[in-house]
Symmetry: C2
Subunit: 360 residues, 2 copies
């Protein structure tokens, strides 16, 4: 068996120790005589898995007791609709800060259900920075302010929570959840598809302050209603059990790694290794303002874009995979989520150096 170094933007590399555990217990979980895939979600075996996952997530992320944790389906894209369905609470509209394609999609889909005010956008600058907080045109009567703390495609990231003057802050944290310590109490709602830092695609984590719940739009189906999902411990219908289980193993792995402080430090070191090299070598360029650079997704271009295909081919040949940039920005992108090791990033930097050397 060989394993590649996987820089895919998501689904993405998972901790090897977690995959080994999944493999070891695939036919018989913990002496139960069945796979997790075969367990009734109402059985005590799966209930113990589900509850431990929530408990470990609460612990590793520091989630206060007045927040509900939900395990849902549909990815962040479904949440783009669920957020206004649940959080308008009688108000007409919401503010959206657009810092990349995902924020733009969130605003567009949210706009099907409410009046969306794009309070700030960096689109005119090709999403290469976070708009200064002072330039935001917030509506004091907005139901919430929606941000995308990390934009997977453009590689821009909020490094602190913006002040929203008491209006609930809603964050699509799909691509940087659990990558460093955050203060959950600064958010009204956090949601994240699992397939970057959490586990396999198919489960979506929602962390929501409970006082925001209970006023959904009329005709909202129960399984899209956060309050009803919370009241039924995310089992209003059969949940995505296996993905939930793998996510739980990843949360345990995070604790073993030293929790958010240690993981955040490692992520900062990985990002610095790669950005420092890019900034030192004129052949590579990252277009994002330094203060707003993502520690999760590092897009970069080659001085000669005609060499893109060769770069990717050579990378593949040495076991470095998933580096092609998103079609909307071109070039390359290295996604270096929690499960990417520093050795993996070093291997990429070594290859980038070697690629430059063979150009001259």
């Amino acid at each position: 068996m060989k394993r590649i170094v996987n820089f895919s933007a998501g689904p993405a590399t998972l901790p090897f120790e977690v995959l080994q555990q999944v493999q070891a217990e695939l036919l018989d979980w913990n002496g139960s005589g069945m796979s997790v895939m075969e367990m009734s979600h109402r059985d005590k075996e799966f209930m113990s898995i589900a509850q431990a996952a929530e408990q470990d997530l609460r612990e590793v992320m520091g989630i206060p007791a007045n927040y509900k944790v939900l395990f849902m389906q549909g990815g962040a894209t479904a949440q783009f609709s669920f957020v206004p369905m649940n959080l308008l609470r009688g108000k007409a509209g919401a503010d959206y800060i657009v810092t990349g394609d995902w924020g733009k999609k969130a605003a567009k889909i949210g706009g099907q259900l409410c009046k969306v005010n794009v309070a700030a956008s960096a689109e005119a600058d090709k999403f290469t920075h976070i708009p200064e907080r002072g330039s935001w045109n917030l509506d004091p009567d907005a139901a919430y302010v929606h941000i995308t703390p990390n934009e997977t495609i453009h590689g821009v990231e909020f490094h602190a929570e913006p002040d929203t003057a008491g209006v609930p802050l809603v964050a699509d944290m799909s691509s940087n959840i659990l990558s460093r310590p955050i203060d959950v109490s600064k958010y009204g709602l956090i949601y994240a598809g699992a397939q970057k830092n959490i586990g396999p695609s198919g489960v979506t984590i929602v962390v929501v302050r409970e006082d925001l719940l209970g006023e959904t739009l009329p005709k909202t189906p129960a399984i899209f209603d956060y309050k009803q999902v919370a009241d039924n411990e995310s089992m209003l219908n059969t949940p995505p059990c296996f993905a939930w289980y793998v996510a739980g193993l990843v949360f345990k792995w995070m604790k073993q790694q030293g929790g958010m402080t240690a993981i955040g430090e490692r992520n900062a070191a990985k990002a610095a290794l790669l950005y420092d090299y890019i900034d030192s070598e004129p052949f590579y360029t990252n277009p994002v303002r330094k203060a707003d650079r993502s520690r999760m997704n590092v897009p970069f271009t080659l001085a000669n874009p005609e060499r893109d295909a060769d770069f990717l081919k050579g990378a593949k040949a040495v076991g470095l995979s998933g580096l092609k940039g998103h079609r909307s920005v071109g070039g390359m992108r290295a996604s270096i989520y929690n499960a990417m090791t520093i050795d993996g990033v070093q291997a990429l930097v070594d290859y980038m150096k070697e690629f430059v050397r063979t150009q001259s």
Copy 2:
């Protein structure tokens, strides 16, 4: 490693050969150097898995070319809303045939979005039979007629498609999809959560006649719009990749088993073995009219309900699990989906005989 005989109603037992394959390739799928959980859904590796799964499903189920096959999220419960969102096509309402708790839920949730006409219900008879076709009060102007071909809780099953006089027939086939040969062309729409006959929970199969698509209700989010999902090959956002992959392995297993004809015969034999014994032994009772009995879910009661706990405890001791009946009907329930072997059913019958013997 011991394996139990798992009669759970869902998530449910899976073919052991499939689980072994999942285990074998968990760290490195087909020499790709990564787990299926780690693959970008846009990569050629996952695309090949996804397309093979659809192709095998089309083949084993005999799906005509003018039907779309979708791999969605949210389970049958989400479909209860998606069906009216997508299939009303300008009409005011739809007919629902209520043959158990699941059909009742489908009608209730559908009723949030359209005028629901319950054209027939067996609730007054505690869902112990399918209402005679002649008694149905169908609306000729209904957008569709919704049935639940197999009711998991009550153990009643349609053994032929009802005539709906040209109105599209919509079926929640969650608990009997792929259990015997059917003529897909008799249906406008078939949907099924995966966690009984298909694979792990978290993926939902939709098979829909393409001429019914394209007229969704206003404000329907794109990822709930069958046409947009179809146009994007179920990848409008990140799909539940791992569940899709396991489902694909189950479809291949079905082909290796001889397809629907062989599987249908085996399911009939398994059901006959259990019902024949129940009917022969006064200590056990199944309340369902013989012609309408489910070949997937066999509820039964003991002559002395005070012995229920002992029955379950003794069953567990000999490795027979998941037999507790749904709380709404009580007693026992043996779910005997495709992956349940005839030896498993024989072991249950043997235990039931022994339990009776030790009563006297």
